[in-house]
């Protein structure tokens, strides 16, 4: 029970720190980057281009989605 309580406290503190960091950043609400910096959206010019773009990503070493 005590370890669960400690876990709550650690989590609450982590949340607070993260929220403070997000709140005081210059980035707006929709702009919490960080994690997003390594994740991106590639938009193809056409349906055919989408297949090719996908093939290019795979060729470059990207794994396929499940």
């Amino acid at each position: 029970m005590s370890s669960r309580k400690n876990w709550f406290i650690v989590l609450a503190l982590t949340m607070l720190i993260a929220l403070i960091l997000l709140s005081f950043g210059s980035a707006p609400i929709a702009n919490a980057q960080g994690a997003a910096s390594q994740r991106f959206i590639a938009i193809a010019k056409s349906d055919a281009d989408l297949s090719t773009l996908r093939a290019e990503a795979l060729k470059a070493g990207g794994e396929d989605h499940p």
Binding site: L16, L19, S23, A30, R39, I41, A57
Partner: protein, 537 residues
């Protein structure tokens, strides 16, 4: 295109309807794809947040995780079966459902199970007795988060919580989504509450884990999934603001435009929250005012010229929020009644309620403006003022000072909720014992009222069921015309201290002030009406 090299990374999802790949990997891979002659653009996958039950400074006032409040004995004793569900016997609790004339609508239809409403949110608690019979499908779109956003920001994912509390990972670990699901379609079963359209089916489009963050790509995926799987209405209470002067953000906005257009074409209506910043929103979602609702002591943020999304995106039904009734102040208040959930407001406070005694006033936090399509009860504190101006209580069951009266909106919440307070009764003839209910406010809460009404209209009009234009037209034509909004915009010049906190509002935008917002800006076509559109063919 440069010669490919082994860059690593992963294709997370492919959404052909909007010609989009979502990829995670190193910057080199991004640059490589950017250089491809087949790519129109390659941009970061950004993060949106749920439209909080209240603005963030108020919401974060409590740091307690997984708050559960034991309410002791049942409020009243229900012996004979009642229709609707017994919580409607508690005077004033479900004011919001009555206000949109849902009980009259139920004499015509309770909804048709072929009509499906997708709740694009934090999930639906399929273990909750009010919801489990109502959920047709659970689609967890967060499984493709890489890394999981809640894990990245807070060190804990839904899977971790599932292990800690011995629950299912795909349920709603926030509470927000289940509240919305309950408002739309909680079971009509003689216990607790029933939703506005209790016979339609819900689909959990889980776009966020417990912390309330979602990738743009996940939201877009939810829209496309709904369109491709015959979901009639999507209710989304997530969003943010995009600066279209930034080409990358402009690209994301365009993807939203394409996804919404695709959904409309396939017969899916998307209904979204206007937002809780008390900003004026114009065509396309453009923000027409400076400054957003700001807590004293905080720095103001300015989205002027930015675009609210997804509610502002053309083709989305944007919903503003209204309150129950604005209560007035008192010459003197007994001790213990003027705290953070004030039940009494001193007449000596500098900031006083507007439109005392009036119903359906624009909520103090709600966005407004010419872009608003329709209004719905999202609830507002007892005095329809921010917390720091001693705005008042949510009402029952947070306090019983006004008996069963709620000022915010009452619904179920997830039994696993970590972010929405869970009120429960260990024994009860009204509610499911030991299961979670909550009273909260926001344009998030207004939105499902509209989604449910659209579901009722779709239930009643089989020919129009896959015709978003017709459904929206019927809904707007049947809306209740409201006049006499007294709620003003935010004041840039009132830099006085908050009545409750005594903290200075250094930049302005903490208090309301000035000329009342027009009825058109506040309500759009009017207050949503569950009954009248059912007779309009």
């Amino acid at each position: 295109m440069p010669k490919p090299s082994r860059q690593g990374g992963k294709i997370i999802r492919e959404i052909p309807a909007i010609k989009m790949l979502v990829v995670s990997g190193p910057g080199n891979l991004k640059n490589l794809l950017k250089a491809s002659t087949h790519a129109a653009s390659v941009v970061p996958d950004r993060v949106q947040k749920l439209i909080r039950p209240d603005m963030k400074a108020e919401f974060y006032g409590t740091t307690e995780f997984r708050q559960r409040i034991n309410m002791g004995s049942t409020p009243i004793s229900i012996k004979a079966p009642v229709k609707p569900d017994p919580a409607y016997e508690l005077p004033g609790l479900l004011w919001n459902v009555s206000r949109i004339r849902a009980p009259e609508a139920w004499k015509i239809t309770l909804g048709n199970p072929v009509v499906k409403v997708g709740v694009a949110d934090t999930g639906l608690d399929f273990t909750h007795s009010e919801l489990k019979s109502q959920i047709a499908d659970v689609v967890d779109l967060t499984v493709n988060e890489d890394p999981p956003l809640c894990k990245y920001y807070f060190g804990v994912s839904d899977a971790d919580l599932a292990q800690e509390y011995d629950g299912p990972a795909t349920t709603d670990w926030n509470g927000h989504g289940s509240w919305i699901g309950g408002n739309i379609a909680a079971a009509l079963d003689g216990v607790g509450i029933n939703g506005i359209a209790p016979n339609v089916k819900l689909v959990a489009l889980k776009i966020s884990q417990w912390c309330g963050y979602a990738y743009d790509s996940t939201i877009l995926d939810a829209f496309i999934y709904a369109a491709d799987h015959g979901i009639n209405i999507v209710s989304i209470s997530f969003g943010g603001y995009l600066d279209l002067k930034d080409p990358e953000q402009q690209t994301i906005y365009k993807q939203y435009v394409l996804a919404v257009a695709y959904a409309r074409l396939k017969g899916t209506v998307i209904v979204a929250s206007a937002g809780n910043e008390h900003a004026r929103i114009g065509p396309g979602g453009i923000v027409l005012t400076h400054g957003i609702l700001t807590a004293p002591g905080s720095s103001v943020e300015d989205y002027y010229g930015w675009f609210q999304n997804p509610a502002g995106v053309p083709g989305v039904v944007m919903v503003s929020a209204t309150g129950n009734v604005a209560k007035g102040s008192s010459p003197s208040c007994p001790s213990g009644t003027t705290g953070s959930n004030a039940t009494c407001k001193p007449a000596s406070d500098a900031h006083q309620p507007f439109g005392v005694g009036k119903l359906n006033q624009l909520a103090y936090y709600s966005n407004y403006g010419p872009r608003v399509d329709i209004a719905a009860p999202g609830g507002a504190r007892k005095f329809n003022l921010p917390l720091w101006d001693r705005g008042g209580t949510p009402g029952f069951p947070v306090t019983t000072a006004d008996q069963y009266q709620a000022f915010e909106d009452f619904s179920v919440t997830s039994n696993w909720a970590t972010q929405i307070p869970c009120y429960y009764w260990p024994t009860s003839t009204v509610f499911y014992p030991n299961e979670c209910y909550s009273t909260i406010q926001g344009t998030s809460m207004a939105t499902p009222h509209v989604s449910a009404v659209l579901a009722l209209i779709a239930s009643q009009n089989s020919m129009a069921r896959r015709e978003p234009d017709v459904l929206i037209r019927l809904m707007k034509q049947g809306a209740q015309k409201i006049s006499g909004n007294t709620i003003p915009p935010l004041s840039a010049t009132d830099k006085s201290t908050g009545d409750l906190t005594g903290i200075v509002c250094k930049d302005g935008y903490c208090h309301l002030g000035g000329k009342a917002i027009s009825d058109g800006d506040a309500y759009g076509a009017g207050l949503v009406n569950a009954f009248s559109p059912l007779g309009v063919h």
